[in-house]
Structure formats: C-alpha cells, structure tokens
Symmetry: C2
Subunit: 152 residues, 2 copies
DNA sequence: GAAGAAATTGAAAATGACAATCAGAAAGCT
DNA sequence: AGCTTTCTGATTGTCATTTTCAATTTCTTC
C-alpha cells in the first residue's frame, strides 16, 4: 500500500470513528470488518455484492448488519448511495475532494465515471436562481457504451 | 380550454392512439379515462395518487390497470417516469419539444422544474468523449427550497 | 477488572412497491 | 353476430429492504 492510499484510508476511518463517538454508537468487530471490505471495494457495489464477498472470510456476519452498516457509512459521509434504477441500491466510497457522476450503459451495465466542473457550476447557478440550497445531486446519463453501440 | 392547450392535448392523444394501433393493442374505456386524468394532472404524481384520484368518479378501475396504463404511456413516449429516491415511481406528461430537470426539496417535497441548455450541451460533450450514446438522463438537485432554508 | 446500562447482532418475519396471474369481460376484425 | 385476441381487476407472487427481538457485545463507572 502506498503512502497516499494509506492517508486516504486513514481519513475515512477517522471520519467514521469520530461519527461513532459523536453519536454514542459502538465500535464492533463487524463494523470494522465491513469498513475494511468497503474501503477495499471496487466502486458501485450493492449490499448483496459486499455481503457475499464478506461471507467467504466472515460467514457469521448477517445481511442486515451489512445493510445497516452501509447506511451508516452513507450517513457519516464516507459512502455515497447510488441508484441506477435497477432496483438495487449501490454504494461507493466517497471522499470530499473529488466528486463525479456516472454514465450507465443500459445494455451491458458498464459504469463510467465522469467529472465536469462546468456542469457543477451551472447547477449552482440554477439553484441560486430559485434560492435553493443544494445538499446533493444525482446526474446520470443512460445509453449505450461504445462497445454496445457497435454491436447494435 | 384555450386553443394551444387543445392542440397540445390532441398531440398526446394522437401519439397514444397511433401507438395502440401500431402494436395491435385495444382502445378501452379505462385507458381513455386514465389518459384524460393523466393529461389533466399536476406534474410528478405517483401511481397511487392517480389511482385514488380516479376512484372518486371511476371506482371500478383497479390499481393494476392504472399501473399498467402509466407504463404504457411511458412506453409510447407521452409520459416520463421519475424516481426521486423515495421508493415511489412518479410520472409526468411529456412533450417532445421541451425537456426539463428537477430541484427536489428534501424537507417539504417541493419540486421545481428547470431547464439549462448549456448543461445538456456539456452532457453531450462528456458522452462524446467516451463514444457513449445517450438515450436518456436523470439530473436532480436535492436540498432545501428557499422557504425551508429560512425555517432551518 | 467486574457490573450494569445501552447499543448491536443476526435470523427471521414484516413491509411495501411493483409485477405476474388468471378467469371473466370487452374490443375489434371478418 | 361470431370469434379471436387483448384487457381488466382482484388476488397472489416477488424481491429488496426494513424491522423485530432475544441473545450478545461494548463501554462506562465503580
């Protein structure tokens, strides 16, 4: 693990620990296990994905606990909950300084991340017009990826 | 009803009728009733909303029929299906020439529509970078409306 | 380090939106 | 009108998610 990654991970862990302390919650071995697996995850996984991945090494951890813990991560800001309209909630590790949105291929399920600061800026302008205070947003482009465009 | 509105409604009805004919479906009194109620709707209603509204004058129309018919409207392009993450699908009448996205107040539920051609354009540019072909998109800004900002 | 209060866990059951089923009714072609 | 196909609506099924609750674990306080 390189230094940058270590710092990045420490941040997430610290945020979580602070949140747990502040809310009077408890630090359990399950939460630590799930946190580690979460931080080591590919992006855009569902509760089920993580649950089955954990089952290999930690067969005692229940689905409900994984689910509750992911919700907790979202609450304390280290996870973002995604919904690509396929009836399954997805999550991704989140760090404050880089925001991105998604392109979703409706044929093969490929997910591409994109960043476009100008769009973010225009969003803010739109919100300002209505005296609206943005807390979060969702911006997803659905369609065909380059591979699937060729095939069809 | 003014002339413009009449023309607009006629368009929606015509699109639906053409779709029904093309697909070998049938024109039933229930579908007509639901279509009328749909076109006369405020925006962003759920299946349940429309079902209960219809029940007053048409107590025989079942929930499943309302649900299937709204899906049909979405299929033929006169409705857009929305999902604001509250676990209920919503619908709005749609006409081809004006696209809009939404601001959603997480406190009072207020929904504001907005149009920002520049964002649409930037979206297209992003997609082009990845040789991605956009079929549809979802862009929602969640936060506090001006009223709720003052109260909190 | 033990005791007690409070939170957590995990299996199971509940919930809730949506989708599927199916027998009877209606539509629309000939 | 007769016949085939689709539609309707009450009910049931499905599936992700949420809740329940008794047993367990954590963490503070002595």
């Amino acid at each position: 693990m390189n230094r940058l990654l270590r710092v990045y991970l420490m941040d997430q862990v610290t945020i979580f620990n602070d949140y747990v302390r502040r809310k009077g919650l408890k630090n359990t071995s399950q939460r630590l296990t799930i946190l580690e697996a979460f931080l080591g995850s590919k992006l855009h996984f569902s509760t089920e994905d993580l649950y089955f991945r954990l089952r290999k090494d930690h067969p005692k951890i229940g689905y409900a606990t994984v689910h509750r813990t992911l919700k907790l991560f979202a609450e304390c800001g280290i996870a973002r909950e995604l919904d690509f309209g396929d009836g399954q909630a997805r999550f991704e590790p989140l760090n404050a300084d880089q925001h991105h949105d998604h392109l979703v291929c409706t044929n093969c399920g490929l997910i591409i991340e994109f960043t476009e600061p100008q769009i973010e800026k225009l969003q803010e302008q739109v919100a300002a017009q209505y005296n609206f205070k943005i807390e979060r947003h969702r911006h997803e482009l659905y369609g065909l990826c380059s591979k699937c465009t060729k095939l069809s």
